[in-house]
Amino acid sequence: MKDTKIVTKKLSFYYGEKMALNSVSVEMPEKQVTAFIGPSGCGKSTFLRTLNRMNDLIPNVKIEGEVLIDDLNIYDKKVDVVNLRKKIGMVFQKSNPFAKSIFENIAYGPKINGISDKKMLEEIVVTSLQRTAIWDEVKDRMNHSALGLSGGQQQRLCIARTLAVNPEIILMDEPASALDPISTAKIEELIFELKKNFTIVIVTHNMQQAARVSDLTAFFYLGELIEFGKTRKIFTTPDKKQTEDYITGRFG
C-alpha cells in the first residue's frame, strides 16, 4: 500500500435539512485510482465534490467532519479555496470545454495562474494534449472552437485542461457516462496512464468500469459508505450483503 493522500473523518453533509452523507470515513492512497460506486442519489458525487470544496458554491449546505489532504484539513478557515482547487483538478460528467479555441481552453488554467509567456504556454498546451493522447487529433486545428470536437475528444480535452494547471489529485465525476464505448475505452486507458503521476478519484455508474480502472472501490448507499476495500475483493468476495446485491445487479 502506498502513502495515504486523502483522508476523510466522519464526514457528514447536508443540503438544507436533508442529510446527503452520513459520517463517511475513507483513506485514499496516493497515485492510485479510487472508484465510488452506488445507485443514483447515494451521495457519491456529493462526496467527490466535498474533496475540492465545489459544494461551497451551493447555498444552504452544511458540512461536518474533516477532509485531510496530506494531513491538512481543507475545511480549515485558513485554507484558500482558490489555491486548493488549483491542486485538485476536476473532470465533470458532461464535457464542458469553454466556448474558446482548443488552445485557449488549455491555456486558460495556466493563464489565470499568472503564466503569460507565450512559449511557455504553448509548451504546457502541447504537453497536456500529448498526455491525454489527443494531440495528434487536434494539432492542426488549435485555433478552432473546442466545441467542434466530438464528445470523447471534448472530454479528453477537459482532462488535458485539468492537467495544464498541474494538480496532484484528479477528481472525475462519471467522466465516461455520456460517451460511446470506444471513447470510454480511451478515457479508461488514459486513467490508467495518469495514475502513475496523479491520485485519481472517480465516480462511476458503470461497475465494469470501476472494476477495470480502479485499485480501490467504495460502495455508497443512501449517503452511507457501506464497504470500502481493494477493488478485486469488493467485486469478488464483498463482506456485506448489500454490496454483493448491488454488484450482482439485484438492485440499484
Binding site: P59, N96, L147
Partner: protein
C-alpha cells in the same frame, strides 16, 4: 357503447366547435396585430413618398416629365384637397432651388425637396426660406446615442454581471426586478427629472455654458436604456451553462476571473444584442430628448452644446405643420428613417446576434 376494436363509428371525425372557434379567434387576433403594424408602416412610408417624387438632378426636360408623373400620382392620392397648400410652397422651394443649383432653376417648378436638400447642414423648416437639411438632426441623434450608450452600457453590463455572477440569490431576486421596473418608468418623468434636477446639478458640476445639452440628454436617455441593456445582458449571462463556471472554478480560477474570462466572453453576442436594443431605445426616445437636450439643430462635436434629435423633431414640429406640405412630408421621412433604423437594429439583435449566441453555446462556430 364501449365496443372493442376500431370501428368506423368510433373513429369518425368529429367537429369540435369550441376548438374551431378558439383557434380561429386566436389566429385572427394575431393577424390583426400584425396587420395594424404593417398598416402603420405603410402609412408612414406613404406620407414620405411625395417628398421624393422629384428627381434631385437632371435636365429640365427630365424634370418636367417627372413632374407630370408626379401630378398623376398625386391626383390619385387622397390629398388632392391640400394641393393649394402644396402650391404655396412652390415659392420657397423655388428660392432654394435657385440658390442651390443655379442653372438647374427649372426644378423650381417642383414644390418638393431633393436629396441634396436633405443632406444640407441647416434645419430651418419654418423660415421664409425653409431648409430641410437632416444632417444636424443626424449629428444630434448620433451624438446623444453615443453619450447615452457610453454611460448606460458599462453600468448596465457591470450590474448584470454582478447580478448574474456575484450576488447572493436573495439579492438577485431583489435587484433584477428593481432594475427591470425602471424600464416601465414613463420617459416623461425621466425627462422632467433631467430638465429640473440633473441639468442644474451637472451644470454646476462641469461648469459648461448651455444648461440643456447633449450631455444632460444623453445621461437621461442612458437612464432609460440601462434597464433594457441590463435585462438582456443578465439573461445572456445566466444562459451560459453553469458547467462553464464550474470548470473554471475547478481549475482554481477566482469568481472574478471566471466572470471576466469565461462567462462574459461566452455571452458576448447576447451583450451585443443588449447594446443594440439599448441604442434602438435611445434612437427613438422622444420625450427625454425634447425636454433635456435644448433642441437646437447644431452640427458640433462638443457634447456640451444643445442638440436636436430626429425623434424630438417630429415630436416638436408635427403638431404645427401644415397638413400635406413639404415640411409635413419631411417629418414623415424622418419617421420612416427612424422606423428603418430601429427595425434594422432590432432585427439585427434578434436574429443575427441571438443565433450566434446559440451557435456559440452549441459549438458550431469558433
Amino acid at each position: 357503447m364501449n365496443q372493442h376494436g376500431f370501428t368506423k363509428e368510433s373513429l369518425r371525425k368529429k367537429f369540435r366547435l369550441s376548438e374551431y372557434l378558439s383557434q380561429r379567434i386566436i389566429t385572427g387576433v394575431a393577424f390583426l396585430s400584425i396587420t395594424i403594424i404593417v398598416l402603420i408602416f405603410f402609412f408612414v412610408f406613404k406620407e414620405t413618398i411625395p417628398v421624393f417624387q422629384q428627381p434631385d438632378k437632371g435636365s429640365a426636360i427630365d424634370s418636367e416629365e417627372l413632374v407630370q408623373e408626379q401630378y398623376g400620382v398625386f391626383a390619385e392620392s387622397e390629398e388632392e384637397d391640400d394641393r393649394p397648400e402644396v402650391y404655396g410652397m412652390e415659392l420657397d422651394s423655388a428660392l432654394m432651388g435657385s440658390r442651390d443649383y443655379g442653372a438647374d432653376a427649372s426644378t423650381a417648378e417642383d414644390e418638393r425637396v431633393t436629396v441634396s436638400d436633405l443632406l444640407g447642414d441647416q434645419w430651418y423648416p419654418v423660415s421664409s426660406n425653409p431648409r430641410y437639411g437632416l444632417i444636424p438632426l443626424f449629428v444630434g441623434t448620433i451624438k446623444i446615442t453615443i453619450i447615452s450608450i457610453l454611460f448606460a452600457a458599462p453600468i448596465a453590463i457591470l450590474a448584470a454581471l454582478f447580478s448574474a455572477a456575484f450576488a447572493p440569490t436573495w439579492m438577485r431576486e431583489w435587484v433584477k426586478p428593481a432594475i427591470e421596473l425602471l424600464a416601465g418608468f414613463p420617459s416623461v418623468v425621466i425627462g422632467f427629472f433631467a430638465l429640473m434636477v440633473m441639468a442644474t446639478v451637472l451644470q454646476e458640476l462641469f461648469g459648461y455654458e448651455t444648461r440643456l445639452n447633449a450631455f444632460v440628454g444623453g445621461i437621461a436617455m442612458g437612464l432609460a436604456a440601462i434597464p433594457i441593456i441590463f435585462t438582456i445582458t443578465e439573461d445572456a449571462l445566466t444562459a451560459i451553462p453553469g458547467t462553464y463556471k464550474e470548470a473554471s472554478l475547478a481549475l482554481g480560477a477566482t469568481k472574478w476571473q471566471t466572470a471576466l474570462f469565461v462567462t462574459l466572453p461566452a455571452a458576448t453576442p447576447g451583450i451585443f444584442a443588449a447594446i443594440l436594443l439599448g441604442i434602438g431605445r435611445v434612437f427613438g426616445e422622444t420625450m427625454i430628448a425634447l425636454m433635456a437636450t435644448g433642441n437646437a439643430a447644431l452640427i458640433s462635436a462638443n457634447p456640451f452644446e444643445s442638440v436636436r434629435t430626429l425623434a424630438a423633431t417630429i415630436g416638436a414640429e408635427m403638431a404645427e405643420v401644415v397638413f400635406g406640405d413639404t415640411h409635413y412630408g419631411v417629418l414623415f421621412l424622418i419617421g420612416s428613417l427612424l422606423f428603418v433604423f430601429t427595425f434594422t437594429l432590432n432585427a439585427l439583435a434578434e436574429f443575427y446576434v441571438k443565433g450566434r449566441l446559440m451557435k456559440r453555446i452549441q459549438g458550431k462556430i469558433s
